[in-house]
Amino acid sequence: MNNRQETLIPKIGVITDVRIDTPDIKTFRVVTPDGVKPFEHRPGQCAMLSVPGVGEAMFSITSSPTNTEYMEFSIKKCGCVTDWLHQAEPGQQITIRGPYGKPFPVDDEFAGKNLLFIAGGVGLAPLRSVINYCLHYRDHYGKIDIVYGSRSKDDLLDYKEIIDDWSNSNDVHVHLTIDREQEGWDGHVGFVPNYVKELGFDTDKTAILCGPPIMIKFTLDGLYSLGFEKTQIYTTLEMRMKCGIGKCGRCNVGSKYICKDGPVFRFDELDELPDEY
């Protein structure tokens, strides 16, 4: 029996570092007990993490595949598994399986393009993998714009990396915004969709969106009004998942399973699906 492969049986992962990003988001560094990366992945793919006795849940892998040493997960505290993880300390073992899902087409459709990343809140987590991949292979891509917004300055994820690395990279333009005025913040104030319209991007770009549904909805309207086509815009979806391999039925939308046919979709592909995500 043990010679039958079984994807539902995970591996052991060890949390080696916990970084506090915001009041409710922490970034966990995970390796195997031997100290190596649990498995290879592509930007945009996900992994199932579990705490035995508490539960298993799907998370986007926020570290780039070009990181050869470990995997990172930026996790917002919002349920049983995530509450538990937020109390975990380095050295804690968890379980991990994956990678799951269709990645962003970083080596195909994105190659040679100007890229516009738009993220809200913890929506930056899945895009960080793509951004760092693109920065690693900087000359494979054109100009890169990153629009990122959150509720407040304290809720910006990966702030140090954004300021120290992304802002200083060649031909990368970072546009940060927070929802309301705040002491000590002299940057832009306002919601992401409005900021995108104010910035008025040229349509010579491929846009990659991730954030809360309401942000996605209004940002899309903004991009369409700037002249973007659905075939130029990508996003990554979130649905409840149990198996991660298109069998348990939870993430089924139309004839697609978000876990294996997604989570990455182009907006013209989403047009074919019922509006249930």
């Binding site: 039958r4 006795g53 073992q93 649905m239 149990k242 939870r250 139309g254 004839s255 019922p274």
Partner: protein
């Protein structure tokens, strides 16, 4: 084809049970048929079909997936899987045999579900042709012939004899073991029975039901049909239809702390439940209408789209008999499918 007299059937069961665990439909104390293990004195039910479907044999209602031992910050994963023993399921109707094909396309598709494939590899299916199809039967809508059931061995029962025909290597090997109890025969009596039952099929109340309005590529056309509102209005969201359905295969994975360790198990789940899709980020199917629609769109449109047009319904009629508000897939097909289906 081989045959034996009806009186000899118990000896045949005994012979099979010598080598395998044998399960067959047996009446419980309330007269309801359910699959039970055969033993001396256990009688095969006369019921047309079992209340629950035989999907339990391959995809049980609950099953352990693995175990964990946790000590301090450390975790040990325990592979609790065991190779299944060979077993025989006798008396499976044509509709339910077809349901295994439908489940195979989910569980045996890469990456293969080892829990399911293990049981499937070790199970031998002996189907039995229907002689008295019920008013709730509509297997013919999905191209299933109840007089020609598939499976490893097909069986036809007449008033005095039982006819056996193997369809697979597994079936032939088993029939070989029954040589002494059966004799070679022609198919005349079976063909007579097929003709008679086919004539009954044509007179069934659902004889004219077709699935022509459904199938791959119909999402846009059917998803926003106004009829979903009235069809789903009385749905209680009890999930009975999904539990008795031979093709419903959605599942949940949960952990249970036994006090000595953690068992991760899976159990049947239902798209009819609000918890099914509920996330911390929101609920994509807010009302029972959306959940109800998901179940029928999946069986009649989404599944066919992913599986060469094959519908995920076999017309067994269990949901027609069991829904507490008498809503069912036939009403959905008639209403959404248009007037000519009535």
């Amino acid at each position: 084809m081989r045959k034996c007299s009806l009186e000899k059937l118990d000896s045949v069961f005994a012979e099979i049970a010598n080598s395998f665990k044998l399960y067959l439909p047996v009446d419980d104390k309330d007269g309801k048929a359910k699959y039970s293990e055969w033993a001396e004195g256990v009688k095969w039910s006369n019921a047309l079909n079992t209340v629950r479907s035989p999907k339990d044999f391959f995809f049980p209602q609950t099953e352990d997936l693995m175990g964990f031992k946790c000590s301090g910050k450390n975790i040990e994963i325990i592979d609790t899987r065991n190779e299944s023993e060979d077993f025989v399921v006798f008396g499976v109707r044509a509709c339910d045999v077809k349901s295994f094909d439908i489940l195979d396309r989910v569980f045996l598709k890469d990456p293969v579900d080892s829990y399911y494939s293990n049981r499937r590899d070790h199970g031998i299916i002996i189907s039995v042709a229907c002689t008295r199809p019920a008013e709730t039967c509509f297997c013919h809508t999905f191209g299933i012939d109840p007089t020609e059931p598939a499976g490893d061995i097909s069986v036809w029962k007449t008033d005095s004899e039982v006819f056996w025909q193997s369809n697979t290597e597994k079936g032939a090997a088993l029939l070989e073991k029954l040589q002494a109890l059966t004799e070679e025969c022609d198919a005349d009596a079976v063909n007579d029975q097929k003709e008679k039952v086919s004539a009954i099929m044509k007179k069934l109340p659902l004889a004219g039901l077709t699935a022509d309005k459904f199938g791959a590529g119909k999402t846009k056309e059917l998803f926003d049909a106004p009829e979903w509102d009235s069809l789903s209005e009385a749905c209680l969201g009890c999930g009975t239809c999904t539990f008795i359905c031979p093709t419903c295969q959605c599942y949940d994975i949960k952990d249970f702390n036994t006090g000595k360790g953690v068992v991760r198990f899976r159990c049947w789940d239902s798209c009819m439940y609000s918890e099914f899709t509920k996330m911390s980020a929101g609920q994509p199917r807010l009302t029972q209408k959306e959940r109800f629609r998901q179940r029928f769109m999946h069986k009649l449109v989404y599944y066919p789209e992913n599986n060469d047009g094959l519908f995920s319904c076999v017309g067994c009629g269990r949901c027609l008999a069991k829904c507490p508000i008498s809503m069912n897939i036939v009403k959905v097909m008639k209403t959404i499918g248009g007037k000519e289906n009535e």
